[in-house]
């Protein structure tokens, strides 16, 4: 192999030492970095190097990488972050920007202002879609129990779910005679809870969307109408 001096953009990468450094974290020896010949020829002398540095700053600022799963996987089961893993994101960003731009241009209904706020006006508000199911849910019983009571319980359950899953899950699995406690995607109990919650939210949302003319007899506050 000749060690001739190269010039022009990317020369710094092209003439870099052939031995690639190894990522070492807490004494763990992981993968070798992507060999030079596989990298994009964007070395320290390339006009695009500041862009690359800008990208790298993000993980650098996020602190040292720990021992990752990829460190223990064969090379063929992994790929480098840049550009292989990174490239879809700029495209996604542009697609999303175009999507919201088109929505802004063509779906003006929700963007148009109503008359200026006037406390004397009589209006029955209808919340945005993400609070609509909650709005409907509150009509189903005592306002305090259904808003503060159940709301607080759901929030706490959501926050501590990983601990509940790891503490209670194996016990339930043992009682059911299962070998292990699978993740919700493969677990009839936690999976059904998830799907069931989605169904309830969807039904409440549809109920609210059906409008104030759509009323259903209910145990409390009967009948309950849409929003």
């Amino acid at each position: 192999m000749s060690e001739e001096k190269k010039e022009g953009p990317g020369a710094a990468t092209a003439t870099a030492p052939k031995e690639t450094p190894i990522i070492e974290v807490d004494g763990h020896v992981g993968h070798t970095l992507e060999p030079d010949y596989k990298r994009l020829p964007i070395g320290p002398d390339h006009i695009l190097y500041p862009v690359v540095v800008g990208l790298a700053l993000f993980p650098i600022l996020m602190g040292d990488a720990g021992h990752h799963l990829a460190d223990d996987m064969p090379d063929e089961d992994t790929h480098p972050f840049f550009p292989d893993h990174f490239w879809p994101y700029p495209i996604i960003a542009i697609v999303m920007l175009i999507a919201v731009g088109l929505l802004s241009a063509y779906v003006q209904k929700n963007l148009q202002l109503e008359p200026s706020a006037d406390p004397r006006a009589v209006t029955i508000p209808r919340p945005d879609w993400y609070f609509l199911f909650l709005f409907q849910f509150l009509k189903l019983g005592n306002e305090f129990v259904f808003s503060i009571g159940i709301g607080t319980v759901v929030i706490i359950l959501l926050l501590i779910f990983p601990f509940l899953d790891s503490a209670l899950g194996p016990r339930v699995a043992k009682r059911l005679g299962w070998k292990k406690w699978p993740v919700p995607g493969r677990n009839i109990i936690t999976g059904s809870i998830f799907v069931g919650s989605l169904v309830i939210i969807a039904l409440l949302e549809l109920w609210a969307l059906a409008g104030p003319q759509f009323c259903v007899p209910w145990f409390v506050n009967s009948p309950v109408c849409g929003a």
Binding site: P44, H79, L111, D118, D128, W129, F144, L158, S166
Partner: protein, 231 residues
């Protein structure tokens, strides 16, 4: 004296940095870190999409703040007229406001999809429980941003929706606590100019700062633990 080529200047800067800090090594390690192939699945992009949308929201929010006047006194209030001005008179104001509005809707969808993916694949399991808590907190922060942002146009819909929200939040049966919550949110006996001032402060200063802080913690955890394998 010959003017140096920009490439030589750049190289000199990089060399200068390298002498003081392993700059190129850090950049290389950050860029060429290995990522498991399973992370290429489309549903692993939801988290990145949330990040991109939060950046959109911050940028468009800054642009909107250039024209928005958080003053609800009078009828029509300056808050209302400023939003009307952004929507109808400012160059591309309608687009910036539209991107902010629809971006917020898309953001909530993406956060929910991301959470559903994390739940479904068991990515919340040890050692990532704390990151789950950070993520759930961010969901509530985003919903709080949506809620506080709703009042800012100061139109009839925003006014009455906020009135209902405050009524529900202050629905605690203990009277002093209910009064305190109502007073804190409203800043007076009814929804009025102090309420807008408070919601504006929360929407523009407090909640975005918290979101950025929590995002930083979220990413630090991801960097420390790596991408979770679907189990």
């Amino acid at each position: 004296m010959a003017i140096p080529h920009p490439r030589e200047i750049q190289l000199a800067v990089v060399n200068w940095l390298d002498e003081r800090y392993p700059f190129t090594k850090a950049v290389d390690e950050a860029l060429y870190q290995r990522v498991p192939n399973f992370a290429n699945a489309f549903y692993y992009c939801f988290g990145g999409m949330v990040f991109i949308l939060i950046v959109f929201q911050l940028l468009t929010g800054i642009l909107l703040a250039l024209y928005y006047v958080p003053d609800a006194s009078g009828n029509p209030a300056p808050a209302y007229t400023s939003v009307n001005f952004i929507q109808n008179s400012v160059y591309l104001g309608w687009l910036i406001r539209g991107v902010h509005f629809w971006g917020a809707n898309l953001l909530i969808i993406m956060v929910l999809l991301h959470m559903a993916r994390v739940y479904w694949t068991g990515s919340y399991r040890a050692p990532r429980e704390l990151n789950w808590i950070v993520g759930v907190t961010m969901l509530f922060l985003i919903l709080a941003l949506a809620l506080t942002g709703y009042l800012l146009p100061w139109d009839t819909k925003a006014y009455f929706a906020t009135e209902v929200t405050i009524k529900i939040t202050a629905g605690v049966p203990i009277a002093p606590v209910a009064t305190l919550i109502k007073e804190l949110l409203q800043g007076g006996p009814v929804v009025g100019p102090p309420t807008l001032q408070r919601f504006f402060t929360l929407h523009v200063f407090v909640l975005p700062a918290l979101i950025v802080l929590f995002m930083y913690v979220h990413f630090r955890f991801i960097r420390a633990h790596g991408i979770a394998q679907p189990m």
